[in-house]
Symmetry: D2
Subunit: 337 residues, 4 copies
């Protein structure tokens, strides 16, 4: 931490800040500039928030030096982490394709979709059993029945399953049916949930909150990692901005930024990242071109009848074209898909 | 809902959209403009998302006509709702002042703060027992011990207690100790939690998510209302924007906007809305001048020693000055405090 | 400037950074932390951008210590600046009220509005002669004719005139008619225009860009000040955020933040800050309660017939109520209006 | 335009709105829903702003049906426009590469860069003669001398020149030296400048403002087109969001969105879109994968000595690798580069 004193700070103010730093077990290091005194805080600053120092008399502001995350950082884990599930490796040379319906709606819908995405080349089947919906009047998912159908599809097509878990008390149940547990964007800072999925040993797909910075995403991963679960996959899915022509703004920059800051695999969700099916394929290609380790894509046999997210779901034939496009882009940058 | 057809839409496209509208139980109403055909969807559109129609061939976009919330709307409940707790009325002529520490840290800290805010004129005591923290390495709250201390302070000072509940399974427990249950900004769209606080009959203080629209805040309130609990108090606490000179951007516009859209009481949190104690008093005055029904303010006897949010906590003497300022502003607009 | 070296930086990297710092005429000051080396840049860093250092090998990031503005800063000019125009003092104890139509549309419209705002208590008359419009098909203003009408209104009502200037070559012309030259939000970083209004000696009303930070606003003021014109009045007029229920988000926090960083007067524009006439009065009250030195408000005798910004214009009787409200709030905080 | 009446609107309110619509030369079309009356405005609504209707008594809101731009729209110009300059076609099958220094600093710097980018495969040379700088204390460009050096480089390497023009009165001068005139992000809504470049017949590269929506970018293009210049090239260069790990957030979604809304060519600026040279190549690949018709990239022989934008400038060897990467991605999607 670096503490910048005000232009008007007195020697007494500086002395008090030094004393406060030392009372917390850090060492203080003074540097006298031409217009400001700067005080370095020497030690592991991660547990302390910069704001903590800003209310001392004479302090203008405090600036963090270290990233607040440690287990997620490449500093101490320079090589890529690869998460393995039943022969699928996420974070390696191959770009992994996850696909399936937003919500599990019925056996027919799920089996038809699973067959189609398998045939097109998907490696993992997605599908929601409980759905977080903005409106209390909208379809909320099949619940346990949805999990059972996902398991049935897993057995029929040998596709690992990724599905969302929405509260701490459901983690054990969902882990019995799913191969990868998804923490959704709206729950990215549901710290009780992060702790709960940190206690199990199944892979976790952690989606970036639509209002969260890259650093906050990595802090959410740190929660899971610090509870003992090292199998974390990050997912960029679009952020909220002033632009209204798309549902979200897919933050393509976040992909190479995350790859440089963390060893964890990073995948992309072009369905939520755009909110419109016509945009899914170009943004899927872009995400892979930028270095994403995988994609998660919504596919529905009849989007107009979908009970959720129809507007951003691809029909099976469009998904097959996406896979073909993405493979060529992956090969152009020395990967496979 | 209004459906705008593309310039290139065919008669067949239009026919299909009409058929789709009718299959959902609505009536369709065509209007032929000079460059576009527009189709009105007649009926209660609230459960349907506009995106649902946007994937039909020939549709350019769909626009909601009704606000998606109903119970929270003034349309069907024009007069103000007043939430009453032990003689305190929130949403009436008096501006209600809630104050206390961010986290309950110890009996001494809580009692000292409670005594001070009571003396200064606060009507409700706030304090956190469980704290949502961005870092897994930061202080997470005293938990149950914190609730017990809050109850003790309640009894000592006859101040109703507001405290945060973070997961559905803790609602019953927290409701035994608290007079008002707070749903925090990060949980504004934790739908399981909204449902759970909707099942009880204690007042709920619902904070706006830091990247949630006014409409989403009202939809979150709708979750609680539709589960049977009518005692909902809304709270503006700042949103996330590009501006970095303050922790959040306090959305002062939201106060009169909410007051016009909903009958529910609206209070303001200038502590989180600014993140800096020097700004708390001017923004508290502004919120009351804009029509807020109350304030919730962080106060700590020694902010530099606070285990959380010290930078935005007022010392007791500054809080007393805030109360004095706010009273004069309230009177200037025909209210009391 | 503080330069944070990467965890992996070598001694050679550090040596090169030190050499680079010295080649720019600064002194370097090393501080060895537990996980990072930090290098302080001693000297007036203002002309250098932090990014300049970030491309040197081994550098993680560079952090500015000093605010990049100097003439606008309270550091070297602690007392408030007061801008005086024909007996009106902006930045003193009195809250100054500027009001008038968005665009000058005709003599009748302008004279009727001027008479009304004068009667209600306004101190300055506003009105646009050239209008920046998003659409090339919208009314673009009366131009020179508008300036002449403004001067006529000035003479008739003894109200100083504020009007917008949109390009450097019009500065001299506009300065012949106006008492205060306004630089609009879209031109806040039109550096040629800032330089041009910096060369004259008339007061400049500088509006914050709708996506500009407080720091960028102060840098824009610095352009004007550094060209020799010290009569700069800042104006908060709302920023662009994700919220769509209002045209802009009025950044109330910016008022006390600006007042603490700079000695320049700060006024508020609740008309653009909200975009809806119903919200103008509550936000006007709030701005004054937060410490604004004045208001600029759009008033039109018949908003439904206005050629621009009708939706956010007050009718004269509503403006009179605003003045009455604002006076009471100003008195509540020890000012007049 | 669709006008949504309030729940509480009276028959008289509705009558007045209809009368107002007709007084503007439109036809009104009523539709009575279950909870709201809706009034359609039939006619070319483009010159009218929705806010215009929102202040009539009983109106809840007005919604635009048509995009406000016409000449830029694919509705009336379905096929792609191709802008041709000396044998370079922008908007065709080939992805066009523009590269060069941020600022022209000296003959040596420019010639060395031009030689390098030509050798690497660039089709157009970029370079700034006047630079918009946030700080009045930073390097402001060589001015006319810069234009002369650009022309010299043009003649030596047969590379068309793109350079920024910052004010209306410089358009004629810059057009004598440049093959493409750039309107920078900060000037995207400098309407006087848009009109001036609309009067000439040279291609214009119009950069999206960092605060501008896709629709506003198209309205800025409409200004140029409506003044008679049809040779407009759009450029996505990143927008401002809450994310601080990159200088801007490159809006990758905007590329396919623009390609669907307009016939104009769309290129990408990954240098400004990221602000960090390490991110330029992955984002350049992504932009091409998403469908960009070209790239504009900052290259400098010695970024650490650059007088502006060094941090986002590629060295010549890195630019050569970018070209090689981008070519493979272009081929993967059926284009060349």
């Amino acid at each position: 931490m670096i503490i910048v004193m005000k232009h008007s700070a007195t020697a007494e103010d500086i002395g008090n800040v030094v004393q406060h730093i030392e009372s917390l077990g850090f060492k203080a290091h003074l540097s006298q500039g031409e217009e400001r005194t700067i005080i370095g805080v020497i030690g592991d600053e991660r547990p302390v928030e910069p704001e903590h120092f800003e209310l001392l008399d004479g302090v203008e502001r405090a600036v963090r030096i270290l990233h607040p995350f440690k287990l997620a950082s490449r500093d101490f884990h320079p090589e890529d982490s690869v998460v393995k599930i039943n022969g699928v490796s996420i974070g390696g040379r191959q770009v992994i394709l996850m696909a399936g319906p937003c919500s599990v709606e019925s056996r027919e819908q799920l089996i038809e979709t699973a067959a189609a995405v398998k045939a097109a080349g998907a490696h993992v089947l997605r599908g929601g059993a409980w759905k977080p919906r903005t409106s209390p009047y909208a379809f909320q998912g099949l619940g346990l029945k949805g999990l059972e159908l996902l398991r049935e599809a897993h057995d029929a097509f040998q596709l690992p399953i990724v599905t969302e878990v929405m509260s701490p008390q459901e983690v054990t149940l969902v882990a019995q049916y799913a191969d990868i547990l998804q923490v959704g964007a709206r729950n990215m800072q549901n710290f009780a949930l992060l702790a709960a999925v940190g206690e199990i040993q199944k892979p976790v797909l952690l989606k970036r909150g639509l209002m969260s910075t890259v650093e906050e995403l990595l802090m959410a991963a740190e929660y899971i990692l610090s509870h003992g679960n090292q199998k974390v996959i990050l997912c960029e899915r679009g952020i909220r901005t002033f632009e209204t022509s798309t549902r979200n703004t897919f933050d393509i920059n976040a992909i190479p930024v995350l790859k440089s800051l963390t060893h964890l695999p990073v995948i992309a969700d072009p369905s939520h990242g755009t909110g419109k099916w016509e945009l899914v394929t170009p943004i899927a290609r872009a995400a892979v071109a930028a270095g994403a380790d995988g994609l998660i894509v919504e596919v529905h046999p009849n989007p107009a009848k979908a009970l959720s997210d129809g507007a951003q779901s691809l029909k099976p034939d469009n998904f097959a074209r996406l896979v073909s496009d993405v493979r060529r882009v992956a090969e152009a940058i020395g990967r496979t898909a």
